[in-house]
């Protein structure tokens, strides 16, 4: 866990229609590092701890989006998932709910707003895990009496503390508890 990227800044765009994938990817490239995938398999292969947000089409030919979301959750990846749908009410009952849904065709403003919000959530969660891992390490140092790395660790902890407070400033507390306690959103899309 200590090895996870603290800023999972990569956006992974996956749509069965390469033209749509590339259009979405190019609109995000100004601001973010973007990867693309054209199948569910490619999407799952491309996932790692650097990916903060995955945008997937709900009509990939080789796997439905709910199953993709399930597989992402099962791998305990921190990335946030946005499903592009033709109908916001589709596949509500099946599998793990995504973190966001956008109805196609997606406007640029809507896309950018959603990516920014999901990236904030992913980044907060990644930093929180790092903060815990370092707090744990600092605690074991204190217990063993070894003090050499303590000052370095304290600096890193203080930086993370400030960054977490910044991130929480942009999240409401219900959302913050949801992300921190890692319990998927329940039920219907909003």
């Amino acid at each position: 866990m200590d090895g996870r990227a603290v800023t999972p800044g990569v956006i992974l765009v996956a749509d069965g229609d390469p033209a749509v994938t590339d259009r979405i990817a190019s609109s995000l490239r100004d601001q973010y590092t973007v990867r693309t995938a054209y199948t569910a398999r490619e999407t799952l292969d491309s996932l790692d701890d650097d990916v903060g947000v995955v945008i997937i089409d709900d009509e990939m030919s080789d796997l439905d989006s709910a199953s993709i979301v399930d597989r992402i959750r099962n791998r305990e990846l921190l990335c946030q998932v946005c499903v592009l749908t033709h109908d916001v009410d589709s596949d509500v009952a099946l599998g793990s709910p995504p973190d966001a849904r956008l109805r196609k065709p997606v406007s640029r403003t809507e896309l950018e707003g959603t990516v920014e919000r999901l990236l904030l959530r992913a980044t907060y969660r990644a930093k929180l895990e790092k903060y815990y891992a370092l707090s744990r390490r600092r605690a074991s140092l204190a217990a063993s009496g070894a003090g050499e790395d303590a000052a370095t660790l304290d600096d890193r902890l203080q930086t993370l503390r400030d960054e977490l407070a910044d991130a929480l400033g942009s999240l409401d507390y219900e959302e913050a508890f949801e992300i921190a306690l890692d319990i998927p959103e329940n039920g219907s899309p909003d």
Partner: protein, 209 residues
């Protein structure tokens, strides 16, 4: 870098989150709790209790709930207690005229920290009043019994941030003998100040150091 000061004289003007370490519910714990809930005139008070009933918890804190502008008790685990344990005549939950002296908000599932956090959050929102809003959480010992230290840590990271933003003075009880030293040390960094009541001479440590 930690500073030590006498808990009796320490002021908490610039402090939001205080960890109260004790070995058991002793006199010094009640005294420290009461001190952190001092000066209730015009203040809004929020309590969170697990094992004890709201009435018992308020009595233990040694405060008069009617002295606060508003008093709310978030009552976790109430279903596991006898229904007769609370709200009986003469338990102090009502004024002589029958009006409630404090509001009780139940949270049924002690393992559901998301629900608990969201419920506390509703009452932690900034409030207007003459005094500084206060918050007593009793206790982290219970949270750790229901969830692991990692989950408790994440819960507290959000909760303490919210307390700080709302300008509250909060304190959190933890029986340090009920968990290992490393758990206590891991949690300490989340708080502005740690008061260790296990020492005969109570000390205040700057946890940020």
């Amino acid at each position: 870098m930690s500073t030590k000061a006498n808990a009796e004289t320490e002021r908490f003007d610039d402090v939001s989150n205080v960890l109260l370490l004790s070995s058991s519910m002793s006199n010094s714990e009640s005294e420290a709790c009461a001190r952190l809930l001092d000066d209730p005139a015009g203040a809004h008070a929020l309590f969170c209790t697990f094992v004890e009933s709201p009435a018992d918890r308020l009595r233990r804190s040694g405060i008069d709930p009617g002295a606060f502008e508003t008093t709310t008790v978030v009552d976790v685990e109430s279903v596991t207690r006898s229904a007769a344990a609370d709200g009986v005549a003469g338990d102090g939950s009502t004024f002589p005229d029958g009006e409630a002296r404090y509001h009780v908000e139940p949270v049924d599932d002690p393992t559901d920290l998301r629900e608990l956090g969201t419920t506390l959050g509703r009452f932690l929102a900034p409030v207007s009043g003459d005094g500084r809003p206060l918050f007593c959480f009793h206790s982290l010992t219970d949270v750790l019994q229901y969830t692991g230290v990692e989950t408790a840590f994440y819960f507290l990271q959000v909760l303490t941030d919210q307390v700080d933003r709302a300008g509250r003075l909060a304190h959190y009880h933890l029986d340090a003998d009920a968990c290992d030293r490393e758990t206590v040390a891991t949690l300490e960094g989340l708080f502005d100040v740690v008061i260790d009541l296990r020492d005969s001479d109570p000390s205040v440590q700057d946890a940020e150091g």
